[in-house]
Symmetry: C2
Subunit: 304 residues, 2 copies
């Protein structure tokens, strides 16, 4: 069993999907990730919020094996706010509001003991902050997993590339990967990234409703998405996937490609729970027996 | 071992893709399908062409276990012509020319012995012709597999629905399936079709570069696409997939869902050969040993 350190965003979201609407619900990459990962392994949390962030969520995190010493609350500050509306197909969304608030001056502070975390997850935040966290760690963790988004690929492609070069595992959407490489085929794009980033043990390409593709440059793995008839809220699906993925790797302490395949399955199951309800509600409910059943469903879905 | 009857189009194509350009090459759904299926089982062929259709292709078909008694050649007639240009992503194409020629008055004629074929593949042609073929068969074949395209779903949705209702297996693209059902999720759309078409043993939904999804309403199967770095010409990929699929079912004489899973794998392998070269060139080259290797590649690609 390894410990995971996550550094990422903390938010308060308004979300509208074809299934309904919620206001002022907890969100942010680090929140989704840590709730997902903590089903499998202990998590050290670094993030910032204002005093408007609900204490009950911090209580929930603490109950769930998440160390919140690194969760900085700025008195009289306001938490990062995001509001979005999903289209009917749930694949696309419009951002209606983005207020950085206390996130604007986020300077990740790592409690000394956090630096012993064997697995570091650099959630989707500004790439210069991701690099700063890597420096603050002192010695390099055993496994560095990173994420990003199209906004940073557009605005700071060089720093994003630096983050990927210093990562063992990089998780990205197929459209973002094409944007990053200028390729028009995600397989060739994956080949390119692996050639250029020698530390990478694996590249995980998320294909939305089609599942994911993983490769270490030699072996290749395709996993379909869990066949969900109803998605309530896709917000945080990627972070939940990464949480289940990193959590399983931490729990099993095996970073081989064969175990990365299994971690992808657990990550996908975790994401399927997340999108089953608004905000983090879906991540409150799942238990180990359920996960085992879903694992069998995936086996059955892919056997031939 | 069962016999397959295919009724479909025969064409002469001009094709331009990012990988090159060819003119006056053989094409058409029945041509691709029969060359693919004949790798596995004997095929009876029904189609129409003009006297400009190359004799060497008919010779090739005859050498390949394809009975061409039902291949009608109209003296002084011109073969169906199609010309298309693919976009850089190979997912989309523009049709530059469509000349029906002898295909306009196609009246499928079934040699008496063809009516004994156990498997009927209704390739993508006008749905009223597909229904006519079913009637001409007299007794219902053991297995009816059908295909269609968005053009017919737009222009004659009722007849397309009639074809599907009378089929055991229906093969369709995800975008066409959404168009047919008005759903915005291919899983829910598949559920709808299976509810409404009680004869269906399986619905195969092609997901392009993401692979395919198959279901009988209870079991579900996801298969990724073969990971191809280079696609030369996607024309006929769907017909080649259907050919490998139906060919494998004919060869093994087992229409259970477990065997349909395997047939999907063989269909996908066959399609990967087809897109490897322009027109039907890719279907000329493959042999049984290759196919076995590709089957193992698929196993490795999906294991966890």
């Amino acid at each position: 069993m390894k410990k995971i350190l996550v550094v990422g965003s903390v938010g308060i979201d308004d979300i509208e999907t074809p299934k309904g609407k919620v206001e002022r619900v907890p969100g942010g990459s680090a929140v989704y990730f840590s709730l997902a990962a903590s089903m499998f392994a202990p998590v050290n949390f670094v993030g910032v919020a204002g005093s408007d962030f609900p204490q009950e969520i911090i209580d929930l995190m603490q109950k769930r094996n998440i160390d919140t010493k690194g969760f900085e609350i700025i008195e009289d500050g306001k938490t990062f706010r995001w509001s979005g509306r999903y289209h009917d197909d749930m694949d696309n969304r419009d951002s209606l509001l983005t207020e950085l608030n206390v996130f604007e001056n986020f300077d990740p502070k790592l409690p000394e003991e956090y630096k012993e975390s064997e697995i570091l997850f650099l959630a989707n935040i500004r790439p210069d902050l991701q690099l700063k966290v890597l420096e603050k760690m002192g010695k390099r963790p055993e496994l560095v997993i990173s994420d990003t988004m199209n906004f940073w690929i557009h605005s700071d492609p060089v720093k994003v590339a630096n983050v990927v070069r210093r990562s063992d595992i990089f998780i990205i959407n197929d459209s973002e990967l094409l944007l990053m490489t200028g390729e028009n085929n995600f397989l060739s794009a994956a080949d390119r990234i692996l050639e250029e980033c020698s530390l990478l043990k694996a590249l995980i390409v998320k294909l939305g409703k089609y599942g994911l593709y993983a490769t270490d440059g030699k072996e290749e793995f395709f996993l379909p998405a869990f066949p969900l008839r109803q998605v309530v809220d896709p917000t945080g699906a990627g972070d939940s996937m990464a949480g289940g993925f990193a959590g399983y790797l931490a729990k099993t302490d095996d970073f081989s490609f064969d175990n990365i395949r299994k971690a992808c399955v657990y990550g996908s199951i975790t994401a399927s729970y997340s999108v089953n309800d608004f905000s983090i509600e879906g991540l409150k409910e799942f238990d180990a027996d359920d996960i085992h059943l879903e694992f069998e469903t995936f086996k059955n879905l892919t056997k031939f």
